[in-house]
Symmetry: C2
Subunit: 478 residues, 2 copies
């Protein structure tokens, strides 16, 4: 199977698509721009859902479900919001055999429909905070799509919270942003740059957008999760006021935040190799696959041992027993490598004789002989090591491909495809300069970096020579 994957070095794009199609993570659909998420891919989404959902619930959030359809007039109530989303809308004009009086849009995001409900639910400070999350599908009509990374329909979670004051709302936006970072680092093994979006790049309707940017192996940045402090914009658009503790009326403060099924694309791109998918162990739906090997005369005996081992390991790990018996061991090994299972246990007659197994590690390709007695401890260590190794490798790659150019010429060279990666540089804060750079180099400001981590120290703007306002991260973006 592995032979059929285009090598990464030959074409990163083809390599990426090959992995998705061959590992059966997803498929193209007859609906332009929309994909089918196949069981192997959906299992990754289920893991993402269950881990994040628990993190949201631990911090006091509850799930709910709001209508898919939004009256067209709602989208228009917040000026920036409609400007940002209008070009991407799918519009329902007919229902039940009749033309509708008012058209509906399919939600591209749910702020407007949710705030129309919050108006009915929020009257007093006693109704706050309101901490609601929704797991849902959304549609944003896209011209150029790529499996997982950019599709017209995608799956996501969208949190929408309401607060008494600015401070609490900002704190909420940051709390969630920190959850996203923890999740990306500890589960997805992804290193990320984090910071605030510029005015030009922030969410349509936000006061502040916090974004987590992850560097892919082709040097492009992927926006992997955003958390927005919305100020009072949606409360004002939908006239949501509440009685404060002191008896005054005040507009409600808001946040919204989301991550989507594009995270699956990030995992594939960041960790996989020419043999196929590599899944970080903590995320993997299957941590270990047991592959019994043996000729006809010993098959039954081996399968018996394999079942025993499966039963024993299942108590501690997510295990799969491979019962395929038509294909060669080599074919089956390649197949499990393609699917990205972190550890493979090979169990043959000699292993059984020696009360041991052969343990193959997906990313390094190493094989170890391990006694049955040592097996659970060894598995645990190898899974943890692999998790840490994938993160460190991605971090190393990201840092090695982050450049600090000293001149605009050096900057341009990076994005001329002479180098692979992103750039950190001082910027004077001017939207005009930002626009010019994007036009000239196709690199955009992904985020404004924190001055604590990236001190300005009196630097001059690389592009204007004026005094710099921020250190910012530039990259071509997915």
């Amino acid at each position: 199977m592995a032979d059929f994957i285009t090598p990464k070095e030959k074409s990163y794009t083809d390599w990426y698509i090959d992995i998705i199609l061959k590992a059966k993570l997803a498929d193209y659909s007859p609906v332009r721009g929309c994909m089918v998420i196949r069981p192997q891919g959906y299992a990754l989404w289920e893991r993402i859902q269950s881990i994040l959902d628990a993190m949201f619930k631990e911090t006091g959030h509850e799930n709910a479900y709001f209508p898919l359809l939004i009256p067209e007039s709602f989208i228009q109530k917040e000026a920036e919001h409609v400007e940002g989303f209008a070009p991407e809308l799918a519009i329902v004009t007919h229902g039940g055999g009749e033309k509708l009086e008012e058209a509906f849009v399919i939600r591209p995001t749910s702020e407007t429909i949710i705030w129309s409900m919050y108006k009915q639910w929020i009257h007093s400070y006693r109704d706050l905070p309101l901490l609601i999350n929704q797991w849902a599908n959304v549609i944003r009509w896209e011209k150029r799509t790529r499996l997982f990374l950019r599709t017209s329909e995608f799956l996501w979670q969208e949190g929408h919270t309401a607060h008494e004051n600015k401070k609490e709302a900002k704190k909420e936006a940051k709390t969630i942003f920190s959850i996203y970072h923890t999740f990306a680092k500890n589960y997805l093994a992804l290193f990320s740059y984090r910071g605030e979006k510029t005015e030009a790049e922030k969410f349509a309707g936000a006061d502040i957008t916090y974004s987590m940017e992850v560097l892919m192996k082709d040097g492009k940045a992927l926006q992997a999760g955003t958390s927005h402090f919305l100020g009072q914009k949606f409360a004002k658009a939908f006239n949501v006021q509440f009685q404060t503790k002191t008896g005054n009326l005040s507009y409600v403060w808001a946040t919204s935040w989301g991550v989507s099924s594009r995270l699956i694309g990030a995992i594939i791109m960041a960790h996989s190799d020419n043999k196929g998918l590599i899944i970080p162990p903590k995320l993997a739906p299957i941590e270990i696959v047991i592959v019994p090997i043996g000729k006809q005369n010993v098959k039954q005996m081996i399968m018996k041992h394999a079942h025993q081992l499966f039963k024993k390991l299942s108590k501690k790990f997510r295990v799969k027993l491979d019962t395929e018996d038509q294909k060669s061991p080599g074919w089956r090994f390649s197949e499990w490598e393609l699917k990205g299972v972190p550890l493979r246990i090979e169990l043959g007659p000699r292993d059984i004789e020696q009360h041991s197994v052969t343990l193959a590690v997906r990313d390094t390709g190493e094989k170890h002989h391990v006694t049955l007695e040592e097996l659970p401890v060894t598995i645990n260590k190898m899974l943890n090591d692999m998790q840490e190794r994938l993160y460190q490798e991605h971090k190393k790659f990201s840092l090695e491909h982050t450049f600090y150019p000293n001149t605009y010429d050096a900057f341009k060279q990076i994005f001329n495809n002479e180098k692979l990666g992103c750039a950190i540089a001082p910027w004077n804060g001017s939207p005009k300069v930002e626009k010019m750079i994007k036009e000239q180099t196709k690199a955009s400001i992904r985020i404004i970096l924190s001055q604590k981590d990236y001190p300005l120290q009196g630097k001059k703007c690389l592009f204007s020579g004026q005094s710099a306002k921020h250190m910012v991260l530039f990259a071509k973006a997915y």
Copy 2:
């Protein structure tokens, strides 16, 4: 709070809606016919999802996700299917600011889009069976809607399986039907009648529809779950053939099956009372609420004990600690009764002195003093007893409101609102007779009952006097 619920005896409809709105299970939305599922209601859906999902996975099914939008031409490929669904479709005519060349429908069910993919995935008997389930939203434009029971958008799961032969496909449809029954009985505490739909009532595109019908307290039947043997209809419509073991080409055999968020409506209607919701313990998101009670001077001491108890019980049960301290105990008790939590632990100064608690049972209203030592065992027993009691009560109600009329006049009296319930009667199998009865009485044939459980014994059709073909269940339907 309970005062605000219209008594069931006064208006069943208002009582039902009051419970939903006051217990904050759901709310009306600004999108006609669509509801908002609020956190209290969505928590029930999450329980339904997690329990059923585990049952599907245990029987070899995997989850996937297919596009929301279906090309209009796909829906038209299966003649019965389009006839059944055309009047209920929501149509997307514009996307990304342009009129679309071909319109899309929002999925009312996904057979057509899924079978267009199965054509690409199924080539050989080795690709079968294909056992896929999808958790999704669907839209069927409804004129008359009622919260949870009938809404234009609803949440559901839809299974779509593909098989080598008729026998396996039929077996699959029955396996799932049996899962639905087990789930309804053991978790939802619902008694159901089960059987096949008539030609007139079956799913648009099915050869056989198995349906589970649940009697509500107003005497109407609710179709609570259906499993369809689809024969080769969709395989033929999408030309899905496979190479058999013997090397021939054959059309694939199919099933589809689903339950939806209307199950939440069934639970409310079947079990609740004038104080509010009653949730069967095995389904309840919260099995036990701990309500600490005490005046200002002992509050802190009581809360300390309450936290200890919460920690202890959380290891075995789904527990909530009520930390509200502004409202009176009476108000809080009513509030938890309204929300339907099965057991309430009241913890006051005297309870703590006596190393005991007061345990109140939601459905019977009984209160017991239980020592801390006996508490876990007692809780377990009371939860199990309540689960069984709710089922037995619903079964008793259903059987007492199932009539066996001997004449058409007696039959008509039932559905003239002179009696409350459904009827079982012999029928000659004629669609004309079926249609006439529906027109005259508004009662439809919900299902054909199995001859094993409901023997014909040479009975005559109640309506035509001809020899009967089936014993069938008649009811007005939701």
